[in-house]
Amino acid sequence: MLTDRQRLAYIAGQAADARLNVELETEGMTLNIGPQHPATHGTLRIICRLDGEQVVWAEPSCGYMHRGYEKLVEVRTYPQINTLVNRIDWLGSFANEVPFILAAEKLMDVEATPRAQYLRTAFFELSRIANLVLFLGDMGVQLGAVTPVFYAFRDREHVLNLIESASGGRFHPNFNRIGGLKEDLPKGFIDETRAAMKTVRRFCDQMEELLVGNEIFEARTRGIGVIPREVALQYGLSGANLRASGVDWDLRRDQKLPMAWDKADWKVWTHPDGDCFARYWVRLQEVREAASIVDQLLGGLPAGPIMAKVPRIIKVPEGEAWVSTENPLGQMGYYVVSKGDTGPFRVKIRSASFNNISVTPWVLKGVYVPDVITILASLYFILGDIDR
């Protein structure tokens, strides 16, 4: 027997279904996603105008973490700036230092010693692993799978310990110097790295089993947030976001820098789809390649000094230099203008996330609200890298 209440609910439900079948009447509303949201890796607010469940207009509002680095560097010396740029992409700090130091070295016409070049590249890849491992786990959390992120934090710890053992800093190593590195490797570093790289590879396998083959994961990511090749290039997307749109471009391979990437054997992975799944898959492969690069470089590490001969007080001759590298988040570059002083006249910091996130008004148009989170997570940005 139905109670009156149940019967009324049934009738209301039937009426609602009938309305749905006739015409979906919706009302526009504005939804703020963030500033505090796990998908934003910091404080980013996305203002979405919705029509029902669909986004009709979206605009990110950044600046919650703007620290004005481009102004601050003008009153600092080159070695001091090294500590500042550490904090741009805080998950892969070492990688931020490298292009800046390379730009200063280019202006000074100094080149790091071969051993320093090898170690720089190895640490660069270690910071890439530390950064992307977190992405691989975090993407699961955004879709409701909690397990991957615990694995990610567990295994990233090994990589952070390595960086700490060499440089003393877990997140902000500040390990680069103009002309080389601060110190040589500690004892036993190479063996520990081999073990850690094994852990990283196991982590990648686990992620592949947990997420990539997972039906729910595929349903939530395949065909969602597709960015075609032309759009990606127009907006200046870089890194894995660009490679997931089928563009075979990697600055580690495609430009000549005094680094040691060409001394290792590795592959640039691309994916033709340009959707959230492609971006995840490309990064997963990248972590594996990075682990292999680290192993190879530390295996063939040349002996020799860690620092080239540089003057005690660093004065950079007048000139302008642009150096960019393939950072975990994408192309990161510095345009350094020097007037022959101990500090630069102007530095333009080209960070990857600023361009990567500028595509969101385009890509979020017409998607459903839950997919907004998937797309943001898959574009993968760090707020410090947007706001600088």
């Binding site: 102004k71 003008e74 302008e320």
Partner: protein
């Protein structure tokens, strides 16, 4: 190789070029900025937009913001001296585009007229230039004619002034001067007396 192509495309457009090592700088005449953008995109195949930003060539009137506030500020030169590829104005806009097929990039510079501080917008040439122009407008006060929405991107909407201009002081250093110059406390009087007594 790129120099030839650029010259072919717009012999009148390009004022000055310079090449150092592996980089190429091109300076564009102000009124041809957008045309040049279309030319590098379509004719040179530079499909990848890297960045766009501004340069203020005025030497900072505050030096390195390390002056002692109790003393009159030292005389500083106000001579505006442009960098690579030259220039005639205080402000310049620079942009970088890259060709993925040829694996090369170009840095383009353009003078910004001192009186109007306005140049053409690239937002219809490269979609990604939209945000970079907003940032340049906010930080340098350079206007971009034809930009759909020049609004603040980092700073709060009521912010006054253009922080990356050299004559905009670094406020943190004015509120609290740089340590090592005024933070040194004077020696206590009794020690001074001791020193005198021992002499």
């Amino acid at each position: 190789m790129l120099e030839q192509l650029t010259a072919e495309l717009g012999d009148a457009l390009v004022d000055h070029q310079l090449r150092a090592g592996d980089d190429l700088w091109v300076r564009i005449r102000t009124d041809a900025w957008r045309t040049a953008g279309l030319a590098v995109r379509d004719a040179l195949g530079c499909d990848y937009f890297c960045y766009l930003s501004g340069l203020d060539w005025l030497p900072s009137p505050f030096g390195k913001s390390e002056d002692d506030p109790t003393e009159p500020p030292p005389e500083r030169s106000t001579e505006v001296k442009q960098g690579v590829a030259g220039g005639e104005t205080r402000f310049q806009v620079l942009a970088r585009v890259e060709s993925l097929a040829q694996r090369v990039g170009i840095t383009l510079k353009v003078d910004v007229p001192d009186d109007s501080l306005t140049i053409e917008s690239w937002s219809t040439v490269y979609a990604g230039a939209n945000w970079h122009e907003r940032e340049t407008w906010e930080m340098f006060g350079i206007n971009f004619a034809g930009h759909p929405q020049l609004t603040h991107i980092y700073l709060p909407s009521g912010f006054e002034g253009f922080p990356l201009r050299k004559d905009f002081p670094l406020l943190a250093r004015i509120v609290k001067p740089w340590p090592g110059i005024v933070d040194v406390e004077p020696m206590p009087a009794e020690f001074e007396g001791d020193a005198e007594a021992s002499e």
